[in-house]
Symmetry: C2
Subunit: 473 residues, 2 copies
Amino acid sequence: MNKKVINALIMLLIPIVIWYSPAPEGLADGAWKLFGFYLAAIVGLILKPFPAPVVVLSAIAGSALFLGNTKAVLSGYATTTAWLVFSAFALSVAFVKTGLGRRIAYHLINAFGGTVLRLGYVTALLDFVVSPATPSNTARCGGIVFPIMNAVAKSLGSEPGETANKAGRFLMVNTYMVTKVTSLMFLTAMAPNALAGDFMAKMLGVHLDWGLWALAMIVPGIAMLLVVPYITYLFNKPTMTTVDNKKIAAEGLAELGPMSGAEKTLVGIFIFALLGWALPSILAAFGIKFKIDATAVAIVSMVASFCLGAIKWDDMVANKGGWNTLMWFGGIIGLSDALAKAKFFEWLADVMQTHLHFGDNGFVALVIIGIISVAIRYLFASGSAYVVAMLPVFLAVGPAAGVNPMALALVLCASNSYGGALTHYGGAAAPIVFGAGYNDVKDWWITGGVVAIVCLVLTFVIGYPWWGMLGIL
Amino acid sequence: MNKKVINALIMLLIPIVIWYSPAPEGLADGAWKLFGFYLAAIVGLILKPFPAPVVVLSAIAGSALFLGNTKAVLSGYATTTAWLVFSAFALSVAFVKTGLGRRIAYHLINAFGGTVLRLGYVTALLDFVVSPATPSNTARCGGIVFPIMNAVAKSLGSEPGETANKAGRFLMVNTYMVTKVTSLMFLTAMAPNALAGDFMAKMLGVHLDWGLWALAMIVPGIAMLLVVPYITYLFNKPTMTTVDNKKIAAEGLAELGPMSGAEKTLVGIFIFALLGWALPSILAAFGIKFKIDATAVAIVSMVASFCLGAIKWDDMVANKGGWNTLMWFGGIIGLSDALAKAKFFEWLADVMQTHLHFGDNGFVALVIIGIISVAIRYLFASGSAYVVAMLPVFLAVGPAAGVNPMALALVLCASNSYGGALTHYGGAAAPIVFGAGYNDVKDWWITGGVVAIVCLVLTFVIGYPWWGMLGIL
């Protein structure tokens, strides 16, 4: 039998087996059966018999038909979480489509890219600059940063194969490693962040809004961004050192031509979005209370992109990533909302509390959870699958072990991102970069392993004290 | 200034003017300001400065940003109404993609299509057979029925221009006229039906589920379907009479080849969906209570289409119509839900009650409303814009004039469909059919006018007594 068919049958079997098994003690029968559909979705996201949206919609379909809870399981499609990500997707699309992403890249290359190592830092800076408004990793890394760095490598005479070591091998894997750092710095820098935030709110009562997230992550994030290109450089040492960056930049900019109206519009919208997201926290620091909904800002930015001509609605409709994300994302939130309302996660936490002992030291427990949360990523070919499957478990285990909820939330939000650095399948952009052919699995895994460990250490060594200083723990 | 820019400015101005005008007596200030954004959406749907989804999302963006009600205005995206339509869209896509629609067509042509007039009836029957699961008019009429009838016309030697009168002129306009009848027969036969049903529930407390809708509409609908092709025939008399239907069918079927697995799967899913939608009402007639959510049935059918291979998820993602509908549809429902919660429609009904007098005869008032609801369609280039703009008004006026709520709901649901027959821009499929070039505006308008009048008469002469017999009035 075809592997896909077997995987589909496994997915099908899960809710059936759970349906006919007795609910564990302390869990209502309805919650147990609903969990069967959720588990089917998790397993489906891992085994991938179908595309992610179809997997999640299948679970919704089963639950709606057999549990009669259509309204409840659809609820996620109206959440501000799902719409924050979906709306900001329009900006990701616009950065690629207008060429603004490339223009920024060439200016950075011109200013700072005099050596191959410096090009690695240019990559980090470029990714960082664009990251606050590009929840699509695929668009940012795969659509903006990767094509440019790939072109740069080629223009340096470094092709896959014999000349890979000249520059491309380092530049390529570095592209991915830095995006795994920038992804943790903003709520809107990676799609699963908002999903993780949703779980934090549901299970820990910790509300990570855009400003708080950015504030907490910016310091450890910048520390990581400073070391990651260098680590990557050490493990993928290029034979070339200096680069004629002025020529590369001049050629790239000449090809782009003068800045278009669409690009200028996008700059304006981008600044509006950043201000809209950051301003409430900035003003709060001065004691000024100013509330503005982050999702409203994202929707306004999206609509402005269409109405002011940065991109066309048809560009958005043609962007499969946006729809796919809205579909599986909204679906998972709906299912997990329904589970939360059925008190499933409370039950899970109770069970964990009874059966697991991490000792009495909350900090040690947090470190252990952090390590496990990274290590387990070898098993997950998708960050989303990891969030859906493992986050509820960690969020149930943590408080039972006396971990500070805010610290737990922030560590997991951080490790969720660089955990994906480990493998060449750890995030949606990884296969794109790996597919360029400059890197081999061994080097990638070694680099990724070191990057993940260093980032985890920095999370505790720099992040943890920083959060303490901020007084949010 | 460009016309689109002017229209966009008009759209922009509406909420600003309303924002700074005092709220009318009896209406809360928040509801009045929210109405400003809703009105902007209505005007935008009529003037079309942007595609429909962008128009509606703009209104949502404005409301979310300035009224701080993001959650409320997004609520429509999780409604079973929006998802019923979106999910059933997958079946529309499947009917086109698998070729099953064409196969049914050729079988019908083979069996009944011996004359040009009979081909008109074959068109009606074909459209009717597919209509219960194709809420996309564009897919059903534009994607299945029209291409076949266009090919048939050409194979009869009837091209636009001199030979148009041979057969094509009748066949083409008839394609559109019959779809305007089948569209009223099932809740899932046209996207705006579900939206109309949503308004009925909100404003009249009348819940038209799938079974009730079909039961109420099937009798007047079939009566219309029997006369409409003949009327169209009279006003667009073809010079040709007999047709070598066996040859056309044989060639068409030969081109399709043997029935594919995807088609067979779709037949199964189609039957499942019909049973799922109709069974509760059928069983209720025998006193058996069986509840199954129509949206759950639609989602299961959609998911089954992907999982069992009738179509691919990518076919759905590539289908702009589905996303466009979900976006503007969910948005409008969210806005109107928010308006309903702010008691806007109650206020509207009060105002109407105070200022309008239709006399004391509820039936006469209903007839007047029916006539106006059709006549006003000359002004609307989109059925959806009509529903959004006019339905709330009619639903507020009706009860004030003593009209039976169920009768009002059913008459408006019916006239909503054939009202679109009037013009060559009255529905999404109209420009497609008109664009084939066989018809001129004058003939189309005359035919459409007579069709709409006859259908309206049949609604009262056959529909009204039938509803009385059913005991639902």
